[in-house]
Symmetry: C2
């Protein structure tokens, strides 16, 4: 089994939309640069948090083109290449490989439910075969609460066995620690990322390589600090801090909440826009969220101002 | 509220794939023609049964181009134009309108779950506005067992009110008769199609305009006969017959089963192919299904042979 090219704190980057509802390339590039400056080890662009599935394949590819053209290092990018059709998933994965992206994050085909593992295996192997490149590094994206289709332990094992140099890791957004633990136990050396920093410390202690987490969009430094000190005496306290931030945010609809926080602390109201079927937070919700964050001493604002001074 | 341009027996047409896994335009055209010859009132190409979501938008548009170029009347076509992104859904709907299709069948955005009706309304209205054509006739596609996202009664009402000349009907594949009944009661004149012939007679008696049903791929004549005689003395007996056929088939995975039946009775083994994540029936399953159909006197074979003589 090949080792994971990614480790540490990865952010599924929010996608900004302009006032016409179109993906905003300039804001996207600036935000990706800022996240890397904040200490993100990688950018899992076009994930669930990115509203990737509210964009067409062409829109996603155009944003990636823009990012790479702006000089953001492709090796730090793990674009989501999931789609319901093998055709489109292969096109997105090939495009990422051609740009030299460090990996891709691959949803299972998520329209048809209750499909047998043989069919899911056929889909993923079909995509890998169509791309046909040794440079392709696939991270399986397991997020059954949203996709309603997931990767079973047996299927993960079959894929690793069939493509040991290609299928190198997995993001587990099941929210079920026992599932993450079982993957870590069954596949030592596999590049496993819990999909929330709530499981960061538990994950690292059991062999996970980091986490890919939505709240990274607003809290890379906090999560990084916990990641870097996971074997130190402050590990549990640092974990508790980032868990508190996460739980405060996820009490609200996650993507609109994160965008409201970015809009507020980056002084850029347009950032609050989401694409249907999502709806932005109501003004009162935004105020309540910001009050909750003040109550726990969330400091993105201070750091932003300090950085500007 | 505008009346529905479609009524009667509509078939969500199976999509044939060739030995390389590509959509097979020639077989598709021939099969669509055959279905119309059999008496189908319309073809709901690119639905769930069509494995539409296992095809890219480009593949779907190329098949529609091919069908229209071959002379299949566009007015009889109701292509599925559903997608997770407004961008792609609008592109597919516009393409259908440009070809003069009688309508489109529109899934709600099905990746994100638990979205509020406001967000779903924003999505559908955004698509309609982007297409911006009085020729667009939208049938809402309600299939929560697969999409896991659906159209509530309230949302249906809001869409009809906002777009009375565009949102003209709905296919209800919930499998829940009480839901179909509630839609029929709340929106008289709305073009409602149960998504299974099992509810054909109940539907017609309550104001439905027909049905759009997967088993139409192999049983248009039977379903048509029940449809045409729904007010006659044989109605219940005819309904019982088509219900028996449907239940016999749906004891197996539906799409692979229908393709196995087509492959057998059309003497064309390649028809059995499905795209991942679906898997074809195993040989033993196919034999069991064909035996079950013989047991109930299913006569597609006889009719095929008679037609050929």
């Amino acid at each position: 089994m090949s080792s994971s090219p990614f480790a540490g704190v990865l952010v599924p980057v929010l996608t900004p939309f302009d006032r016409n509802g179109q993906p905003d390339g300039a804001r996207f590039v600036a935000f990706c640069r800022w996240l890397l400056d904040e200490g993100a080890d990688g950018l899992a662009i076009f994930g669930t948090t990115s509203e990737a599935n509210s964009m067409s394949a062409a829109e996603r590819m155009a944003l990636l083109d823009r990012l790479v053209a702006a000089g953001v290092p492709a090796a730090k990018l793990m674009p989501g290449s999931g789609a319901c059709s093998m055709t489109e998933a292969a096109m997105l994965a090939r495009h990422a490989v051609e740009h030299g992206c460090g990996g891709v994050l691959m949803l299972p085909p998520f329209y048809y439910k209750g499909m047998p593992d043989d069919g899911l295996f056929g889909f993923i192997s079909g995509v890998i075969d169509k791309v046909g490149s040794a440079a392709l590094k696939v991270y399986l994206y397991h997020i059954p609460p949203v996709a309603q289709v997931g990767y079973s332990l047996d299927l993960i094992g079959r894929l690793i066995k069939a493509y040991p140099n290609t299928v190198v890791g997995l993001k587990d957004s099941s929210g079920d620690w026992s599932n993450t633990a079982a993957i870590l136990e069954n596949f030592p050396g596999f590049g496993v990322f819990p999909g929330s920093e709530i499981f960061l410390l538990d994950g690292l202690r059991k062999g996970a390589v980091g986490c890919i987490t939505a709240s990274g969009n607003v809290n890379v430094p906090g999560i990084r600090k916990a990641y870097e000190n996971w074997q130190g005496p402050q590990a549990d306290a640092l974990q508790a801090e980032i868990t508190t931030v996460r739980k405060t945010i996820q009490a609200y609809p996650m993507v609109p909440a994160l965008k409201a926080i970015v809009a507020h602390f980056h002084n850029d109201p347009e950032w609050a826009a989401v694409r249907p079927p999502m709806v932005p937070l109501a003004a009162a919700q935004t105020q309540a969220l910001l009050a909750d964050l003040r109550r726990i001493g969330f400091t993105l604002g201070e750091r932003r101002r300090e950085a500007a001074e």
